[in-house]
Symmetry: C3
Subunit: 351 residues, 3 copies
């Protein structure tokens, strides 16, 4: 099910130097603590170096510096974590779909499905959709009218694309994700919400990953746009008209409100929320569960929220926080008195 490879073959794949037996058989990957004699491991984070001497791993991906004095077999690479990333795909037990359309799938007469694409059971592909070579459409996927999916894309079972969603090459979409849903657009008429048709689409760049149950709404007028190399984790909400720059990554449970624009190479930790109609520049890191209420124009790290405390202490802090404006005014008052007194004191000792 997973690969069986010699250490020397892995070295060749990675362009690594073998230290030890190139004929050793490797059948899987594991952490230093858990790896057995047929498994390859890696040392990337220095705080795990303590596990290296006692590891039972068959071989270890190591930097040259970490390999000094190491008795076991190793592959010497400049970046062990990156080497692990590349090699992980060789040992992935994920089933590969074979090309062809499952007989149960419902494909519109004028949809174009490349002969080298795979379409799973109960998938629906609607009118005018175009699916390129090497694309996998999982079971229960729905591909709306006029959608385009570029070469090498992989859609897990049960992904839904509404109509007019355009997806680049090598895009991975996990189960339950919904692209092109109708954004939250309503005009208020005397207390009653009137729906605004969402007539834009969704445009997804190349090499994007979209996580489980993540939602990307279609644009109200123009497209919602996700740049190349963007990585969205699970349970994320991307509202209509949002734009996300290349190689930005968002951890799970982030919510981005409508028409906000996020730069390139940003990282949003889990649970971050952005209000609508703001702009985040390139290179911004936002820590977990931060509420972003205004634009950010300088790269750097940003936070909001309070530190966790035992609940009894927290209740005191929270109560005091509501008195903070009062405290600030009283402090100012005290400072004035003290200034008056100490000046008075000075005056009298001077006298």
């Amino acid at each position: 099910m997973t690969a069986t490879m010699k250490l020397g073959q892995l070295a060749e794949f990675l362009g690594a130097t073998v230290s030890g037996d190139p004929e050793k058989i490797i059948t899987g990957l594991a952490t230093l603590q858990e790896a057995g004699p047929a498994q390859l491991s890696f040392l990337a984070n220095p705080q795990y170096r303590k596990f290296l001497p006692d590891s039972h791993a068959g071989a270890v991906l190591l930097k040259a510096a970490d390999a000094e004095g190491f008795q076991g077999d190793a592959l010497i690479v400049p970046d062990p974590y990156l080497a692990y990333a590349r090699i992980s795909h060789l040992f992935d037990p994920k089933p590969r779909a074979s090309a062809g359309v499952h007989p149960s799938a419902v494909i519109a007469a004028d949809a174009q499905v490349d002969a080298a694409a795979s379409v799973g059971p109960f998938a629906v592909v609607e009118s005018g959709a175009r699916i390129a070579a090497g694309v996998t459409i999982g079971a229960h996927c729905f591909i709306g009218a006029r959608c385009e999916i570029g070469e090498g894309g992989w859609l897990a079972p049960r992904v839904t694309l509404y109509h007019d969603v355009r997806i680049g090459k090598r895009v991975v979409i996990q189960s339950g994700a919904v692209l092109g849903g109708e954004g939250f657009g309503f005009a208020n008429e005397k207390g009653v919400w009137q729906k605004i048709a969402q007539i834009g689409g969704v445009s997804i760049g190349d090499d994007v990953e979209i996580g489980v149950n993540t939602a990307v709404d279609r644009g109200a007028l123009a497209d919602t746009v996700i740049g190349n190399g963007v990585k969205l984790d699970n349970q994320i909400q991307i509202a209509h008209n949002v734009q996300i720059g290349d190689n930005t990554a968002m951890a799970a449970c982030v919510g981005i409100s409508g028409s906000s624009k996020i730069g390139k190479n940003c990282m949003l930790a889990g649970g971050v929320g952005l209000v609508g109609h703001i702009e985040i520049c390139d290179g911004v890191f936002i820590t977990g569960m931060t509420m972003v209420t205004h634009s950010i124009t300088e790269p750097g790290a940003y936070s909001s929220g309070t530190a966790m405390q035992p609940a009894a202490e927290w209740r005191k802090s929270a109560a005091r926080l509501r008195q903070l404006d009062d405290m600030a005014r009283r402090l100012k008052q005290v400072e004035k008195h003290v200034e008056a007194v100490t000046q008075g004191g000075k005056a009298s000792s001077d006298g």
Copy 2:
């Protein structure tokens, strides 16, 4: 795919006044900045007025006041945003399903599907369900036993209704939404959680919209109730027994805990959380990511959380916050000393 209409026809549809050429052809909608000569635009927010003079829009929806001095073609209306909302549906490229049941759908013998309803591929409609005229059931939808869907409803592909979910007229439900899931009901028996069957249903009013991947749990005993005109955005969680009043709107990622009751015409911004068993009166606005821990009895705006700061400053604030109770006591102490000293000072100057 989208409509082609004359400006005069649009004026008639809206009851608007044409300023300019009623024969001009309009084929779509766009913002002032992006509209081309065959597109209609609108000016609703005064801060976009600066884009009006240079807009290439074929025509613009304007208030009479904004139309003064405008050289281009225009439709004069009292509320341009509302006019845009109404007209947007004419240009919506969303495919319209034709009436009839797709041959692959599985419909229970005793389910009632109106001849003027549409049921998509691989949909399942269970025993005793009733689907009214003009309803669209998208592909992969599951309609549980005894569910009722009122006239003109539109269910996107892959919507799940458990059994005994009753839905009013003209309700829109986006993909991945789940109505009637079994709420989080457990009784703790010596550390082990015993499941409580959730025997209530879900009752949804008329003109409701439910967003992508939003969950509305069934009631534990009676129904969970969503009022008329309620709009729920994506990724929302509505727990068992919740009641939501008419025309209340919630942005994405809101979570409402069990048995809470929310009034009419409320607005909850994104990421708001409510604890269970509380009551929010009519006309309340809650800002983004606020944690609502007690009932609200007065209309108005409410907030919690802290403002975003650069992370280094935030760490200081967060550390200080944990000292706040101590600071408050020390401030009080200082005030006493100062009062004693200044009174002492007064006394001596009196003497």
Copy 3:
């Protein structure tokens, strides 16, 4: 559709004492306020005792102490809430699936489906999967390669299991849940994110419940592990490599980051977030929307965040909070001055 039982039969089922007419017919359950003469109710929370005298319930589950002086029919039990939990299943209108595979389902030739299991319409069961006796697989479920589902499990319609997900006995999974999605694993190579294959699986214990649209990612190398009796509510995110101890419960919208480990018998309220690579000991309770940024080693309750205020007051608090570090330093300064002055004062009054 629901049961019809005599009070005496219910007493026998529960091991309760009947106070009143054992021949009374009970057809359903309801709260004290809503119950009619054929419905059973219960008094668990003392604050509802006020509703007991005027209740129209046909009978009430009561503790012996609460039954004193009660005129109506009752079932006397040591724990009325637990009795209600047990009895609720008798009155559950949820349709029961009959054993057998729906003709539309697609089952791999080498998958093992027990003859006493039920597989619904359009379900897909892939190669090597094993489904035990008494399991219900709802419509539109996807059961990936080599998955195992233990006896008595119940999967609502539209549950997705990727390959290699192992599930214990009597596990309940609600619609839209996704187990085994590919976790957020990427190595950064000069600003570009390189995907790390997620080669571990998911291991779920016995008697677990997983809520609507909840996601449990597969492990990066080893399995993500959910212990026995764990209850996960809706819209939860469990990242790769997380471990959750027995009988821990999490309310909706919780997010657990990668490789974090949570003990037994913990309770996480709604919207809580955990950063990755931390450890929570047994018996911890975390209040709603708390951000957990470090390990917890002592049982007890923990919180973060601020209390809700009217928005105008909140804005002042939030502004002051950003001045808190400055205030703390000024307070210290004032204390020094006051100390100097009062000591000076003391000295002079001593003199």
